[in-house]
């Protein structure tokens, strides 16, 4: 038996070494090809942008940099949308953090980062997208977050196991090194014109009617009543605010660190609280963001102030706006940012 185990260990050693080398030499974003493409484009056109937007599809599909720049023209904003679909906490925070680390001071003036609750990994734990960001640091953060969260005991167990699975998978996953998989992945990615923004309708035109996105849209259009639950969640602002002080300390610490890191690089960071989230998300995020100065938070969820963002006229599906909705949202977001900038000390216009 000992001979068997010894030889097996020796046999697997080169594969383990290869995995370690892979982890060391591949860039940090080697798992989200769309982010990699956006970053390459951004680096080639650095002079054009002084503002970056990070987050999930709720940023990717909802913030049109052209509208954003036009509304904030007096501040000389040139925005680039770095968000990609399903990029949540901690992946989104990790990508922003890494972006900052490689940034020269003064290169970027503003950043908008979508606030998220910790993503609950399940099947996606053992995919390249669900694991490339899961470094030892992020694993430690996620496990501490889960421990400090108000999730049920079973949810904590389940999520802990999935974060561990994701971490282990990330160690041995060669995902994007596989040329075939990479080629397929690239084919699936559509051109990201308009400074990283791609409206859902534009994507749908290329994906065709048979796509899952098209089916999801049709399902929503057949039954828009589900939007009522999202409106219900947005109406509870008072209840959320009464929970002031009941935040996840690990999450708060992470955001505070990002804020400090941003300041060190001369970047003014704004946290975005988008509309159409679920009640549980607001329950956690509203008290958390109340711990930051109001000028750092772009809260866009409250009902009825933001009633338009819950209208079916501006909806693509349950969680997303259509093109018109995205433009409207972008304009309102930019206007809110102007307010924040006006209230901010030491603010100078272009």
């Amino acid at each position: 038996m000992s001979k068997f185990l010894r030889k097996l260990l020796l046999f697997t050693l080169p594969v383990i070494v290869l995995a370690i080398i892979k982890k060391a030499v591949t860039p940090y974003y080697f798992g989200d090809d769309l982010h990699a493409q956006k970053l390459a484009f951004f680096q080639q056109n650095q002079g054009l942008y002084n503002t970056v937007l990070f987050g999930s599809s709720r940023v990717y599909r909802h913030i049109n940099p052209a509208v954003f720049d036009a509304t904030l023209s007096e501040y000389g904003v040139g925005a680039f949308n770095f968000a990609t679909p399903s990029t949540m906490n901690p992946e989104s925070y990790y990508l922003y953090e890494k972006f900052l680390e490689e940034l020269k001071p003064g290169q970027i003036r503003y950043a908008v980062l979508e606030a998220h609750v910790l993503i609950k990994l399940s099947q996606n734990a053992t995919t390249t997208k669900g694991s490339y960001w899961n470094t030892l640091k992020n694993l430690s953060y996620s496990l501490q977050y889960l421990h400090a969260s108000s999730f049920s005991a079973s949810e904590k167990w389940y999520s802990t196991a999935n974060y561990l699975r994701s971490f282990l998978y990330g160690l041995v996953d060669f995902g994007m090194l596989n040329p075939q998989r990479r080629a397929r992945h690239r084919e699936q990615q559509l051109p990201h014109h308009q400074a990283g923004y791609l409206a859902l309708e534009d994507e749908l035109q290329q994906l065709g009617a048979a796509s899952m996105r098209s089916q999801r849209r049709a399902k929503f259009q057949n039954d828009t009543s589900r939007l009522a639950t999202r409106i219900g969640a947005a109406k509870n602002q008072e209840a959320y605010e009464q929970k002031r002080g009941q935040y996840n300390a690990i999450h708060l610490d992470r955001l505070q660190r990002l804020l400090l890191l941003s300041e060190a690089k001369g970047v003014e960071l704004f946290f975005l609280l988008p509309p159409r989230l679920k009640e549980a998300d607001y329950e956690e995020l509203v008290p958390l963001l109340m711990e930051f100065p109001p000028e750092r938070v772009l809260s866009m969820y409250e009902y009825p102030e933001n009633a338009l963002f819950y209208s079916t006229v501006y909806s693509f599906d349950i969680g997303h706006f259509n093109k018109q909705g995205a433009d409207l949202f972008t304009r309102k977001l930019a206007e809110l940012m102007i307010e924040r900038l006006k209230n901010s000390p030491n603010r100078t216009r272009k």
């Binding site: 038996m1 046999f11 041995v172 075939q180 397929r184």
Partner: protein
């Protein structure tokens, strides 16, 4: 839990170490660990359906013990039918309920009668077709007095749920596997290394061959109406290698994994695409299922004995039932029917056992005649695979119609044709290795054993790198749905 997942990569070494270092104090401990590990393995997918396995185990254990004591033929038959009804009842409900219901409704509406019946949203428990057949074989063998019933419940539960082959076979006979749970297991270095080698080959077949073929097979079958005949042929070829790589790969991993724990499972695939006629193909494809149907259905019906009419009837029954076992869809029944039609002429002219040995045994290359026979047999299976893969009979017929059109002689044209040619090259290389190892239980069983260790390990690392770098998008094993 999928064999090609990180979960299994963690699960297997943990169970292996516990089995040989902690539970090795007694056979009972090792068997209990096998049961526990198997339930975890199965419950990983859906723990609720574990109750079916436990219930089936309990019923067959009790029935087996009662059969040993019972002398009254009528009561013995009643006990046998209890097991048959429970096991096939589960299978019938979960797998065939909606199919029968929909067909009854359609049949009534055809005669102008509308009946109201709503289908149920039933989830098919993974592996139900495999473990129900395995437990049934136990009860039937005990009933036939071919096997002594076990008194050891844990060993029996381990036999029913043995995780390497629980969800997609091979369907083991109690007479082969159950006694292995009574025998003390000694760790064998040779067996363990052989097991790892077979796992490696199985992973290669699944991840490199099957998963890559799946991408193009899916694309071509999903867009068959818009593609030319030669592309459709290629689509069928991709599916033929997808299903072979997928299922025989699973069997290899299962057999190799069992070997790590000191168990020997029976060979399930014996290089079926090198068959020289359909009868040989069926002796080499999914052997554990074919022999199950042979022993528990075909022979009791009379087999190939008796009148021509009986032979024809029995052949059709066994192939149609085998097709229906694969799924509740007319496409599988047609697939079975087509194979019966292929097989029947051989049976009637007494040529169904012409090719019992390995093709070109002891020779490096086959003769021209052997090549022609293998190509002809492969072409017949290709046509049958179209029914197996198609969404419905109409789709299969239009697919075959598309093949036999003028465009058969045009150049294949579809999205990603260049990349798919690389997959064709991989298939050719794969077939070369399979050919070299066709006299063994699996292709790489002996390949490289006489080589210098540097070359041998280089070969294994090439396989590992291929799995890492050339693997297709992860696909669920096809046979999980059966």
């Amino acid at each position: 839990m999928l064999f090609n997942s990180i979960d299994f990569a963690i699960f297997l070494p943990v169970v292996f170490l516990l089995y040989w270092f902690v539970a090795n104090r007694s056979l009972a401990w090792q068997n209990a660990l096998v049961v526990l590990a198997s339930y975890v393995f199965y419950g990983w997918w859906n723990w609720r359906f574990l109750s079916l396995i436990v219930f089936s185990t309990l019923v067959d254990f009790v029935v087996g013990r009662r059969l040993a004591k019972e002398k009254n033929p009528f009561r013995r038959k009643a006990l046998l039918w209890t097991s048959v009804v429970v096991n096939l009842g589960f299978l019938g409900f979960f797998k065939y309920y909606n199919f029968f219901l929909e067909n009854f409704v359609q049949a009534f509406s055809f005669f102008g009668r509308d009946i109201n019946a709503s289908s149920l949203n039933i989830i098919l428990p993974v592996g139900i077709s495999f473990y129900t057949f395995q437990t049934l074989s136990y009860t039937i063998d005990v009933y036939r007095n071919k096997l002594q019933p076990t008194q050891d419940f844990v060993a029996f539960a381990a036999f029913v749920s043995f995780f390497p082959q629980l969800v997609a076979g091979p369907i083991e006979r109690a007479s082969n596997l159950l006694p292995q749970f009574y025998r003390e297991r000694q760790f064998s270095y040779t067996q363990a290394v052989d097991g790892l080698r077979q796992i490696l080959w199985g992973l290669f077949k699944k991840v490199v061959i099957a998963d890559n073929c799946a991408e193009f097979a899916n694309y071509i079958f999903n867009n068959s109406a818009d593609l030319n005949g030669s592309t459709l042929v290629l689509g069928a070829v991709f599916f033929a290698f997808q299903i072979y790589g997928d299922f025989s790969g699973y069997s290899d991993i299962a057999i190799g994994t069992a070997g790590l724990f000191g168990f020997q499972l029976k060979q399930n695939f014996a290089f079926p695409y090198f068959s020289r006629d359909i009868a040989e193909f069926w002796r080499r494809w999914h052997i554990s299922l074919s022999t199950w149907f042979r022993d528990y259905l075909y022979i009791p019906l009379g087999g190939s004995r008796g009148s021509v009419g009986n032979k024809v009837r029995n052949t059709f029954i066994i192939f149609v039932v085998s097709g229906f076992w694969h799924g509740a869809n007319w496409t599988f029944i047609f697939w079975g029917l087509l194979n019966a039609i292929y097989f029947l002429p051989l049976l009637l002219i007494n040529r169904n056992r012409s090719h019992l040995g390995v093709v070109a045994k002891g020779r490096r290359l086959p003769s021209g005649q052997e090549v022609a026979l293998m190509l002809f047999t492969f072409s017949l299976t290709l046509l049958a695979w179209v029914f197996f893969r198609a969404e419905n009979i109409g789709h299969a017929l239009s697919y075959i119609g598309g093949i036999f059109s003028a465009s058969l002689f045009s150049i294949p044209a579809y999205t990603g044709v260049g990349r798919s040619m690389f997959i064709v090259l991989l298939i050719v290389l794969f077939l070369g290795i399979e050919w070299l190892g066709r006299e063994e239980e699996y292709a790489i069983a002996k390949i490289g054993l006489n080589w210098n260790s540097t070359y041998r390990y280089t070969f294994y690392y090439i396989l590992i790198l291929s799995i890492i770098l050339l693997g297709g998008d992860e696909q669920v094993f096809i046979y999980f749905q059966f």
